[in-house]
């Protein structure tokens, strides 16, 4: 990736200060090493969208939506860029300078790098990385987590048997492979690792890297109805979280968290060194924190909906002050809000049916806007009339989610909308070149 020397500008008003730890609990789930936190109104929402055969060009694409209410094109799709194929578009993440988005395909294991810094309203595809399986042996790049000058990538599967045993990879920001780290399969302190992977989240002050676990290609690329009728296949879901030493990149502790723990959110304010996750299959919130002896522990602290009905909690979004948590449950299409004032005892204080199926949820830093998308996986989404595909934006006043705008991804012939990221127009800055003649 070359930086355009004519257009060297930063997203940050004061990037030096913007990497402060305490200010980055969530926006909603970005790496704390990332610069350019958007605290005000986001201008654009980028949606990594799965292609659907026969719908538009059928390709996976990055869809850009104008999210600024003062804009003439507010609530409209203003740009889309196809990647020329269908590889199960899923998650994405910013580089540490917030100039680029890395977006992965769970099926083809390709990684697409979009330039969103030069002109966030018109992202450009600038690099395609297709060597993840060859370099690491892993399949299904899922989480893209910025480290200084690098991208840490959590995968879901492996190229040998396409099961859930997997690991993490590191690339530099130029797109070169650097290293791989296997998820532990042996026991640490009597708890055996399952080798599965999913999300990644770092607490810098604790030198702590926490990972969660889901399932391999054999499961996530299989029809959900068939899968749930296959008792053997249903055994192949992650049941652990792993605490790593970030500096050494060695696993130090394995935590038993049954039922596929998915997204991880740290509360990073001083004195609040805990993380929270939701288990997809058992429908619980789990708190990861230190016990009196200083060891990390995981305990279930709340149920989400009625676990017997398998509501399937998917994405979560923690508020900036870590006092609240949005949780989407896919099967019943419900968006829940939990009061996290006492993280040991989360309380659901609000819920709303937001669609026939809902998956990702992202909130603005100020918590006033909440965005929801519908698609989980191409083979897991509902069928027929329940297969709504949308992005819905809401205003949140602390009491009610009020609809702001909606994009119908089927009507617009776009595909299945999945992960969302925000950008804002860059501030007024000049390049070094521009002032060099002074």
């Amino acid at each position: 990736m070359k930086i355009d020397s004519r257009l060297i500008f930063s997203f940050c008003i004061a990037a030096i200060m913007s990497v402060g730890i305490a200010s980055h609990a969530d926006e909603t789930c970005n790496s704390p090493y990332m610069s350019g936190l958007i605290k005000g109104q986001e201008d654009f929402v980028h949606v990594w969208t799965l292609g659907v055969p026969g719908m538009g060009d059928g390709s996976d694409k990055l869809v850009t939506i104008d999210a600024n209410p003062t804009s003439k094109t507010y609530g409209k799709v203003i740009h889309k860029i196809s990647v020329g194929g269908r590889g199960e578009a899923h998650h994405m993440g910013f580089t540490d300078d917030r100039k680029y988005i890395w977006a992965g395909g769970l099926d083809d294991s390709k990684i697409y790098v979009f330039d969103v810094g030069t002109s966030p309203s018109h992202p450009r595809l600038v690099n395609t990385i297709d060597n993840l399986p060859a370099k690491s042996g892993f399949l299904g790049p899922h989480t893209f987590y910025a480290l200084p000058g690098r991208m840490l990538i959590g995968s879901l599967s492996n190229a040998t048997d396409k099961g859930g045993v997997t690991g993490m990879s590191v690339y530099n920001n130029k797109g070169d492979f650097i290293a791989k780290y296997d998820m532990p399969t042996s026991a640490i302190k009597q708890i055996k690792g399952d080798g599965y992977g999913y999300d990644i989240a770092v607490n810098p002050a604790k030198n702590a890297l926490l990972t969660s676990s889901f399932a391999g290609w054999n499961n996530y690329m299989r029809d959900l109805g068939e899968l749930m009728k296959d008792p053997e296949a249903m055994k192949h879901f992650g049941n652990t979280m792993v605490m790593w030493n970030l500096k050494t990149m060695q696993p130090e502790q394995i935590l038993a968290v049954p039922g596929a723990p998915l997204e991880i959110r740290w509360a990073l304010a001083p004195g609040q060194n805990w993380a929270i996750t939701a288990t997809a299959l058992t429908s619980q919130l789990w708190l990861v924190s230190r016990n009196a002896q200083g060891a990390w522990q995981a305990k279930d602290v709340a149920t989400i909906g009625d676990p017997a009905k398998i509501p399937l909690p998917v994405d979560i979004s923690i508020t900036a002050d870590a006092k609240g948590l949005w949780v989407n449950t896919f099967m019943d299409g419900t968006t829940h809000y939990f009061d996290l004032t006492d993280p040991e005892h989360p309380r659901q204080t609000y819920s709303k049916h937001t669609g026939t199926q809902v998956n990702m949820v992202s909130q603005s830093w100020d918590g006033r806007r909440v965005y929801i998308t519908s698609s989980l996986l191409s083979k897991w989404d509902k069928q027929g009339k329940d297969n709504e595909q949308f992005l819905r934006a809401f205003q949140w006043d602390g009491h009610e989610l009020a609809p702001a705008f909606e994009i119908d991804f089927i009507k617009e012939q776009l595909g299945r909308p999945h992960h969302m990221k925000f950008t804002a127009n860059p501030p007024r800055v000049a390049s070094l070149t521009g002032v060099s003649a002074r």
């Binding site: 004061a14 605290k39 530099n172």
Partner: protein
């Protein structure tokens, strides 16, 4: 110090700041906080540092005004390189970086054998203002020990610097005032690059990672690699 000129050119894609209404996009720097370290760093040599990238060569200027190859200052020793500008006043920016480096220098200096194998390099982000004379004056505070190798560099002109910034992934921009004129504030993400004796970047520290004990252990880890 002379003020920045008025020839600043606003780059493409600037936002419409100043329009009425509440929905103004704002990228907020957030509250700056010094790095916290609430853990015992792993001992030097007990871990491997990643090989992140090789450092590209460039021609820069030293504080005497002589041309120097960057490769000559990023090889043969363990190098800690950072970018700065002399008039930066952000308490958690360049002054913080150089204070951290000065403390680290003192720690390294206490181990005479190690000190022989370490150098620091500070490269100015503003060659227009930070001439060799200016950085020579600025660096006096940090180069008090002639036995410790700490170089301050600038460039003959901005185009000579840009490939270096590009290679390191170090972004920088100039803040504008309300009239569209360049101010005296350069925005850049504070980064330090730990480079091994073969010219390979092995660690990158942003503000969250500026933990002197960890940095010291990283330097010793690289020293142990080559004996």
């Amino acid at each position: 110090m002379r003020p920045l000129g008025a020839l600043a050119k606003v780059v493409a894609g600037v936002s419409l700041y100043g329009i009425a209404g509440v929905a103004i996009a704002a990228i907020d720097p957030g509250k700056a906080t010094a790095p916290r370290m609430e853990f015992v760093p792993p001992p030097a040599g007990s871990y491997k540092l990643q090989k992140i990238q090789r450092v590209a060569d460039a021609i820069l200027l030293d504080s005497s005004g002589h041309s120097v190859r960057l490769s000559a200052l990023t090889r043969s020793k363990i190098t800690l390189l950072t970018f700065f500008y002399t008039y930066c006043v952000d308490p958690l920016g360049c002054p913080f970086a150089h204070t951290t480096l000065a403390a680290l220098r003192d720690r390294v200096r206490a181990d005479r054998a190690l000190a022989q194998r370490v150098r620091f390099v500070s490269v100015s982000l503003d060659p227009t203002h930070d001439t060799p004379e200016v950085i020579a004056s600025y660096s006096k505070e940090f180069t008090i020990d002639p036995q410790f190798d700490w170089r301050f560099l600038t460039a003959r002109r901005v185009p000579d610097l840009l490939p270096v910034l590009d290679d390191f992934g170090q972004d920088v921009s100039v803040e504008m005032d309300a009239n569209g004129h360049a101010t005296r504030t350069l925005h850049h993400m504070l980064k330090m690059f730990l480079i091994d004796a073969r010219g390979e970047v092995r660690e990158i520290y942003t503000l969250s990672f500026l933990q002197p004990q960890v940095m010291f252990n990283d330097i010793k880890t690289l020293a142990l690699e080559t004996g």
